[in-house]
């Protein structure tokens, strides 16, 4: 992980020449990277500093940070911000717990393991919008599969309008996300599991450690980098969530996410400046969270990597 840097005092002429060569060779890809990544982001930032009204379509007025101030002082933004974090917190923690359990199961030696590994990944292969529609149908009042089964069995929840109330609607959105992406978390954690050498476990067994002790003291610490990696991926994804609430509730009952807010302003209302500011705010939120992750949890990745060496 650590990048070795050569102190300038020790650079010889040959080093410099090599560096120049390296720069020349990487320059084309750097330019392409800049075009692909930096230009659209830069353009979005520029757009967010302007006001485009429907009347003046195509013409902009520079308004500085007005769009940001408007967003940050609006209830809509903070409501969406809170709901998105609630969603991310719930779904990512469930996905990590279930994903770890699933990975442990798939790591056991048993017949048909490879088949099961493929089957388990199926939900992840389904397009989110399609699975969202399936979940919507299942929780449809009166005729949905879930509501029907619950009411036939006389269980609570059969007469609930799941997508018509905040708590229940959020629960369905979280469930749909957990169902779909737990296999992804499991896959990453499984990769981490397979790196742990069998000798470590043999040693533990010789020392007379119980199954639980082995799990808590050996498996879990060694799995940490994989779990953190899964957490970073999933959190970044969850904070950008759009399709699940869009299909399931259209943002009703307090389930509007940050991305949905940006979409409404950009596409439905054609308010390019306001929408871009909201996109940039979403982008910044995701970035800040990732930096925090790497700063605090990423340290573990490095520590463990060092220990392993």
């Amino acid at each position: 992980m650590a990048i070795k840097t050569i102190p300038p005092s020790r650079t010889s002429g040959r080093d410099r020449a090599e560096r120049k060569l390296a720069f020349r060779m990487t320059a084309p890809s750097l330019v392409i990277m800049a075009l692909v990544a930096a230009v659209p982001i830069g353009y979005a930032i520029w757009l967010s500093l302007n006001q485009y009204s429907v009347r003046t379509a195509g013409l902009s007025r520079f308004v500085g940070l007005d769009n940001y101030i408007a967003a940050l002082t609006s209830n809509e933004w903070w409501a969406a911000f809170g709901q998105t974090f609630l969603f991310a917190g719930l779904s990512v923690s469930l996905e990590l717990i279930l994903g770890t359990a699933m990975a442990l199961l798939l790591n056991l030696a048993f017949k048909g393991r490879s088949v099961l590994r493929t089957v388990v990944l199926l939900p992840y292969a389904i397009i989110t919008v399609v699975s969202a529609i399936t979940w919507q149908t299942m929780f449809q009042p009166n005729m949905g599969l879930v509501t029907n089964v619950l009411s036939t069995l006389g269980l609570p929840g059969g007469d609930v309008v799941w997508l018509g109330e905040h708590g229940y609607a959020m629960a369905v959105i979280v469930m749909a996300d957990v169902w779909k992406t737990t296999p992804f978390a499991a896959l990453i954690i499984l990769a981490g599991l397979q790196v742990i050498s069998a000798e470590t476990y043999e040693a533990a067994e010789l020392d007379g450690a119980s199954k639980w002790q082995t799990f808590v003291n050996i498996t879990l610490p060694l799995l940490r980098p994989a779990i953190v990696l899964a957490a970073i991926f999933r959190t970044m994804d969850a904070l950008r969530v759009f399709d699940l609430p869009f299909v399931l509730t259209r943002g009703a009952n307090g389930t509007e996410s940050m991305s949905m807010l940006a979409y409404t302003q950009l596409r439905e209302n054609r308010l390019v400046g306001e929408g871009s500011a909201l996109s940039i705010l979403t982008f910044l939120t995701v970035m800040v969270v990732s930096v925090i992750y790497v700063r605090f949890a990423g340290g573990n990745i490095r520590d463990v990597a060092k220990e392993e060496q």
């Binding site: 006001q51 009347r55 408007a70 609006s74 209830n75 018509g164 509730t249």
Partner: protein, 442 residues
Amino acid sequence: MDLNRPASPLQSQNNAATPRNRKGLAAATAIAAAALILSACGGGAAPQGAEQAAAADPASGANASGAVNICGVKDASGIYKGTAEAFTKANGKVTAKYTEIGATTDEARTQIVQRLEGKSTECDLFVTDVIWTSEFASQGWLLDQTKLVEANKDRLIPSTVETTKYQDKYWGSPFFTNAGLIYYQKDKVAKPESWQQLYAEAAKAPGNGYVYQGKQYEGLTVNFLEMLYSAGGEVLNEQGDVKIDSKETRDVLNFMSDGLKSGSADRAVLTYNEDPARLAYESGDFGYQRNWPHVYRLLNATPLASSFAVAPLPAWEGGKASGVLGGWNLAISAHSTNQAGAVAFIDFATTPDWQKHVAMDYSQAPVNEAAYSDPAVLQKMPFATELLASVKGAKPRPISPVYPQISQAIYKNVYAVLSGTASMEEAVQKMAEEITTAKASF
């Protein structure tokens, strides 16, 4: 929405023009210059606006030739392609073709906006949803069809023509229309004469309930406006002033939310758009359903076929029934390279003869009144009389270039009242505020 604030950047630039702030001024000028360059890349100089738009010449259609490209949403019923083919055959000199540019209504709008903003000449005609007229016309994107509409006026139902109006001019010709209907189980419940009577009947027995489109989306705006219009309320008046903060709005909101509490309507309607409402109704557990005419054919294929009947939308007690118009118009692009061909196509599509095919072959509501009493149409569409009553009584949705924002202000706040997350008073005030802000953003 609170997010749309009319900013005053020109003011702040003027303030910067003091000697001490020359650098600031220079920077602002540079940025403004850059803005102009960027916006020039993005689509050119100031938009023409509706005031300077060119007009379509009704006489030009007769001498038209060449090819006409019509663009719009995915052609599920085949009506657009069918009309293009029939036109090409009948006209002989002009060939028309239909290009699908979006799978859904929303996607089609985005695609059309992109083409219009980029002054694309790909499409001569656009099939436009009735709620897009003001926005497109205000941008100078469409050809003024006032003369054409006036030439064809005697064969068009007046309410359908109203959906193409913006600032006293017509910007499209209606192609087919749409209005809400009430489907009811004639052996269980009575034909609805007023909303009050419908709701009272619906609450009488568990199987009598009413289903409508109560999800937070455009459909809820339509359901709410149908009731508001029949109660005599309005969103914007003729002058465009916001009139939503009224006794009628309060009455309707109270009525709708009481209806959910008393069991006239199932709480599940809060999650229904058109299709789930239809499916719930097909289970046979409900007495009334509000939906569009296309449901007739689908309902006829279910066990309910023999027991249901169709009625126009009811009136508010003591008032006159008034629904909300849906439907699709034909708008000529301001950048069309074959405007005469487009006029010829419109002439054909709105003829009384072709309008009969619109009903018989594609089950859509014609814009020609005579079609509704044609025996061949009545055989295919036995509820044509009820449909005509709904269409003739219906009014357009609020006419404004920022209609999407106005609709959001309506459906979000109506939903908040129905789901019980906001008080009625709070919602009415927020609705009025948000509509005012939306209007100011134009």
